[in-house]
């Protein structure tokens, strides 16, 4: 079978794409700019710089997967497209980390929700971190531009029932709700965004900026792990990288040395601090890896009287911000309410349990509905975030202690989610907590939540949004880069991903990453061409 998709055609037409697994000898390559990471930040940067006429090399640790590989199968996708084969967690194992590891990064596997950075967040950044350049007015044209580039628009098809139940519950209780903007073009409404879009409708980096960069003579290595930068005085001289075997996880003995005038790191809020720490770059105030945020997520599942088929249809189309900023930007922890898609493996991993009880839980999957709460962390002194550090083998890990402030928010979110599900007509509701039973009434659920021990492991926690760790700010004593992503101490280094956020966002972060990367890359292009 021949493929006519953007990637297959590009490869056919002679794109400079190098699979690390095919390399047999050490070599050196050089460009104006080397970019580490091919996700929302790296892809945007590569396209803008390449179109401005600069020579660009992209480096991706994961492998290149595209339409031929996207067969709507959970197990192969989780194994190949996600960090640590979908087994990544925080240091103590208490929070599951969902994060992409492939060309396109998390944009290849995200659920397509495309929100602008909330005004409250941008205003807080301006005021608290001296970031005058990121006011809502200043950022508006960059959001406009990226919304166009990635075909983002409110979903104009009817939400699937999984999402509509969130709408119904909010309506009944008088909570606000909205339709989610999605980055899709000609979407088939199948429901498999999380395992690699099978139809190429999703306009993530893989279908937009990566082809855009490669069409403009950029080169891309995949299956190549950025190990460390080598400094020469106050500048980076080169990047040392290790080729990975075709399984994507076993390093080979082949080393690639990449030289450039400028380096951009966009390896995620866990990968970027990891690379900076491994490279022992100047960090006089020890800010690298600090203030890492994750939008801690807890969840509730409901058994509905009608078939929900939560595995089909656009995975996220309805959200509620009723509780996101209701206590002010820096008051009690706020949370955004959304819905996750439920396929068998995802459900089996999210709903804790074993034995006959678990068999019964999963047999009810077609009637199952779920709501998730994404807690907005980092806006309060009792929410200082986590820390990225290095394991003995040099790999990065995130330690994220959940503070009492966050536990309180998570408990409130449990109440809200159960109340919404009962209001929408749920027969039974179960909170994702090891001590939760199925409850048949809102009163029973409420009484049970009152007694929940809010502790690591017992509360099932997740994160799909990793942010911070290389914070931007005007004061070098409390940040790693300035308001344009330029490193405070290394003159030819920029950071262009979610790691520069000084707090979490309060919304799914892809558009925030695209917009800041576009703004900072346009400036960088001018600087390098001057």
């Amino acid at each position: 079978m021949s493929f006519n998709d953007r990637i297959a055609q590009g490869l056919e037409s002679g794109w400079k794409v190098i699979d690390g697994a095919t390399l047999t000898e050490n070599h050196t390559a050089e460009a104006d700019v080397v970019i580490v990471g091919t996700g929302a930040g790296g892809g945007t940067t590569a396209e803008i710089l390449a179109k401005s006429g600069l020579s660009v090399i992209l480096v991706e640790e994961g492998r290149l997967y595209y339409q031929k590989d996207f067969k709507m199968d959970e197990l192969t996708s989780y194994a190949n497209l996600y960090q640590e084969g979908m087994s990544r967690t925080t240091k103590d194992g208490a929070i599951a980390i969902l994060q992409g590891r492939c060309v396109g990064g998390s944009t290849t596997v995200n659920w397509t929700s495309s929100f602008r950075t909330p005004d409250e967040t941008l205003n807080y950044w301006s005021k608290r971190f001296g970031l005058d350049g990121v006011s809502p007015e200043a950022m508006a044209p960059w959001f406009d531009g990226r919304e166009t580039r990635h075909s983002m628009a409110p979903w104009d098809t009817a939400p699937n029932l999984n999402n509509d139940i969130l709408r119904q519950g909010c309506e009944k209780l008088g909570f606000s709700w909205q339709i989610i903007p999605r980055n899709v073009k000609g979407c088939w409404n199948l429901g498999y965004c999380g395992v690699g879009c099978p139809t190429n409708a999703k306009q993530g980096a893989l279908m937009t900026t990566i082809p855009g960069a490669l069409d403009n003579n950029a080169s891309m290595y995949h299956g190549l792990r950025a190990e460390r930068f080598v400094m020469n005085q106050d500048r980076i001289d080169s990047l040392e990288a290790t080729a990975m075997a075709s399984d994507g996880i076993t390093p080979t003995s082949v080393t690639v040395t990449l030289k450039a005038r400028h380096f951009v790191v966009a390896a995620s809020a866990i990968g970027s601090p990891g690379l900076l720490l491994r490279s022992k770059l100047p960090d006089p105030y020890e800010r690298v890896g600090k203030r890492s945020f994750i939008h801690p997520v807890n969840a509730s599942v409901a058994q509905m009287p009608k078939l929900v088929d939560p595995f089909y249809g656009a995975p996220q189309s309805v959200y509620s911000d009723e509780f996101n900023f209701s206590n002010g930007v820096d008051g009690d922890a706020g949370y955004k309410l959304e819905v996750p898609p439920l396929h068998p493996a995802m459900s089996a991993g999210v709903v804790p349990g074993h034995g006959d009880e678990q068999a019964k839980n999963l047999a009810g999957l077609p009637w199952m509905q779920s709501v998730i709460a994404l807690v907005r962390d980092g806006f309060h002194e009792d929410s200082p975030g986590g820390t990225v550090s290095l394991r003995d083998d040099g790999s990065p890990m995130l330690d994220y202690p959940v503070s009492d402030y966050l536990w309180k928010g998570l408990r409130r979110a449990f109440y809200t989610m159960a109340e919404i599900q009962f209001a929408a007509g749920a027969d039974k509701v179960r909170l994702m907590h090891l001590d939760s039973d199925w409850y048949s009434t809102w009163a029973d659920a409420k009484a049970a939540i009152d007694g929940f021990a809010m502790e690591p492991h017992r509360v099932r926690l997740f994160t799909a949004h990793q942010m911070g760790g290389c914070a931007m700010g005007s004061n070098p004593e409390e940040s790693v880069v300035n308001g344009f992503g330029e490193h405070h101490h290394v003159s030819n280094l920029s950071v262009h991903d979610a790691s520069i956020f000084p707090t979490s966002i309060g919304a799914n972060p892809q558009l925030s990453v695209y917009a800041l990367a576009a703004r900072n890359s346009s400036r960088l292009a001018q600087r390098l061409k001057a």
Partner: protein
């Protein structure tokens, strides 16, 4: 070998104080590390099982294990009936095949977890496989190959309801890798009422057509 310490003595002294010792994640990690090391020294089989004979193990003889050792496989064969419960077929041969396939998919999954999480799982499996810690920490008296589904279930319940986070974490790790490998497999989709990707889409998409 120059190590004059008997691994048993060392473990005994640790086990005396195991409750307080395991309260912190750090203590737990150190303890598990010690078990892994002593398990290695005392000759426990922690090397990947590689290709096992089909008769011996009821496994597909063509499958090459990359992470699980022969001991790990025995452990999982003992735990899976308790973890999967009535979702497993009752008919003996079908049941053996379902368990064997799940063990292989667990191995494939763990291979993709990468070195850091493999190390954590190695420590967990060694703790459960090493006789002394199986008895003292997991409180399972018989060897796993002789453990009943009831004993395996009681062990899982203890770790699930324990007030020690490290045991909750062990419970989640064991059940999660098993549940995902089992329910995520195409042949078991019907158990969760999942019909699979819509047929019309499969028919229309090029990646499902053979070359």
């Amino acid at each position: 070998m120059t190590d004059p310490l008997s691994p048993t003595d060392e473990l005994d002294s640790l086990c005396l104080d195991r409750r307080s010792f395991l309260r912190t994640g750090l203590g737990g990690a150190l303890f598990l590390g010690t078990v892994s090391l002593t398990a290695g020294l005392s000759g426990c089989a922690t090397a990947p099982a590689g290709r096992l004979g089909a008769v011996d193990t009821r496994m597909d003889a063509r499958y090459q294990f990359q992470f699980l050792s022969a001991d790990d496989i025995e452990l999982l064969e003992a735990l899976l009936p308790a973890i999967l419960g009535s979702a497993l077929p009752e008919q003996a041969n079908a049941r053996r095949i379902a368990i064997a396939g799940t063990v292989e998919r667990i191995d494939m999954g763990i291979h993709k977890f990468g070195p850091a999480n493999q190390k954590e799982l190695r420590q967990l499996f060694d703790l459960l496989n090493f006789g002394l810690t199986r008895v003292t920490i997991a409180r399972v008296w018989p060897a796993w190959r002789d453990a009943t589904a009831e004993q395996a279930d009681a062990f899982l319940q203890r770790w699930r309801s324990s007030s020690i986070g490290l045991f909750n974490n062990g419970y989640m790790a064991l059940t999660k890798i098993s549940n995902v490998a089992f329910y995520g497999h195409q042949e078991n989709w019907q158990l969760s009422g999942y019909p699979g990707p819509p047929d019309w889409a499969v028919q229309a998409l090029p990646q499902f057509r053979s070359a």
